[in-house]
Amino acid sequence: MNIENVTISSNKEIAMNLWRMSMNAPKIAAAYMGPGQFINILPNNNWEHPIRRPMSIASVNGNNVEIIYKIFGDITDQLSRKNSGDTINILGPLGNVFTEWDNKDVEPILIGGGVGLAPILNVYESCRNPFMIIGAKTASEHFMKHDPKNNIYLTTDDGSLGIAGNVMKAMDEIVLHENSIIYACGPEPMLHVLQKHAANKNIRIQLSVESYMGCGVGLCQGCVIERQNGHVQEHSYHEKYSLVCLDGPVYKNSEVTFG
């Protein structure tokens, strides 16, 4: 875990409101453990926004760390205005990793929804020809090609590109096997549906959870998610709630429960 002032090497819009930023971050790249981990970003030194923003790592190559982010507020808007050569302050790498995707006996099925595609693309680039489903509202939010021959399925809510509907529609195209593992990141309702689907089909799933974080390092205790099989007795600690920053962001199967 490091705090590093890093230089931005590139920052480009790759689809509508979706940006890819590369940073030269040698310390964080050196400590990086694999897809699933995240960094906590501070775009500037003023205190109007006191807390950092967690963002999944989309790739690490040499000293280069890449994120993909969507503009939905002041902080991400500020990030999109950064140019190559500018510096930002980042804390990381944080959190745990997706596992078993590099096991040759495993058939990974990668599913990203909305901005949740960063860690999914990270796994994709390390896998040999996995199935991948990326969901978005409309065509302009996609930057990849719908390419079912190469196992890449895009979905749009409005049907303007790829398969019309949400990622579950694309799941119909994929035959699940005993050795399939679903790797998913995206909005909570999507993760909830996929978790139930995996349980029904009796296959394994790993979910990367998004959470509002105050620190990313376990100090603030803000980013909790409820454990599915957690004890709910009156006097317990860390049995009912899990800290996403330290225990996650990746959870397996039915470890956690959604709303």
Binding site: P50, I51, L219, I225, Y241
Partner: protein
């Protein structure tokens, strides 16, 4: 080199930069990001008699220059604190101030008794009578002069270590509670705990915090903290530990001028767990540049108009 040491009762701290309760865990986390031996003191998260899971999410939300939290005193409970944390402190150079919260006089007393019954190197206790987020947070004590004095005097009987009462800004007259703490035998008061706040998402129309209300902290509350410290400064003779929105050395100087004898850094630790080292470094430079021999010479020296 300016003298950064500060004295609270008979205890001398090597510098006035403490970390605030609930922003630095039990003091045993984060060795990678901060050299804790440089801190004046660590105030632990609130410890209660029984373990607590804390409140359901969402527990935190950022607001303009601040954040609202409602963690709900999640902690391991005093038994586990004694068995797991106290031994770790034996190998640390940093003074530890244990923060205690309770829902009744009995609970505060039981927690302190259990810790006093074992050998440890903690230097004192900060008594949370001001958590706004849970019924058990002691707030009923922190808004009532008689109960504050009674609780302080009961705890005073149990310990010779530092006894610090942590005051709430969510009262009509904070100095009245400070006077009650002094009358009860407290060595110091710390001020302020978080300010009750609320945040609403206009789009979803939901409150952004599960418990609806939470505690506002960060730079947004610095003016409130300064005012509370200065009000209390004129009314009590015991030292005041200033808290509220401290993010740099200028803020520390301002809290001293208002009447603090040391400070606690809180929310800023979330942004950078090593920020206290930067503050300490800059504070040293500031005092040297201004030829101020001792930081304690600044206590309460704010110049007012008229």
């Amino acid at each position: 080199m300016a003298d950064l040491s500060v004295k609270i009762s008979n205890t001398i701290f090597k510098n006035p930069i403490f970390v605030a309760s609930g922003t630095f865990g039990y003091g045993t986390e984060n060795p990678e990001l901060v050299d804790v031996s440089k801190l004046g003191a660590i105030v632990t998260k609130s410890i209660t008699l029984n373990p607590r899971e804390g409140n359901p999410p969402p527990r935190i939300v950022e607001t303009h220059s601040g954040m609202i939290n409602s963690i709900g005193l999640a902690n391991i409970g005093v038994e586990k604190y004694i068995s797991d944390m106290l031994p770790v402190y034996e190998n640390m150079d940093t003074p530890i101030i244990m923060n205690i919260a309770g829902s009744s006089m009995r609970e505060y007393i039981d927690v302190m008794k259990k810790v006093e019954d074992v050998s440890s190197n903690i230097v004192g206790y900060e008594i949370n009578i001001s958590c706004p987020n849970v019924k058990e947070g002691g707030m009923e004590f922190g808004v009532d002069c008689d109960m504050t004095e009674k609780l302080t005097s009961e705890l005073r009987k149990l310990t010779d270590r530092l006894l610090i009462m942590k005051l709430s800004p969510n009262v009509t007259d904070i100095s009245a509670i400070a006077i009650s703490s002094e009358n009860g035998g407290a060595d110091a008061v710390s001020a302020i705990n978080t300010v009750v706040g609320m945040s609403i998402n206009h789009s979803s129309q939901f409150s952004n915090i599960y418990t609806t209300f939470g505690g506002l902290s960060g730079p947004a509350i610095k003016p409130v903290g300064l005012a509370c410290v200065h009000k209390v400064y004129h009314r009590v003779n015991i030292p005041i530990i200033g808290i509220g929105g401290i993010v740099n050395s200028d803020d520390v100087i301002e809290y001293f001028l208002a009447g603090s004898c040391s400070v606690q850094v809180g929310t800023a630790n979330f942004r950078n767990p090593g920020i206290t080292e930067i503050i300490l470094h800059d504070l040293n430079n500031y005092l040297n540049e201004k030829h101020i021999d001792s930081i304690s010479s600044l206590i309460g020296r704010v110049k007012t108009h008229g």
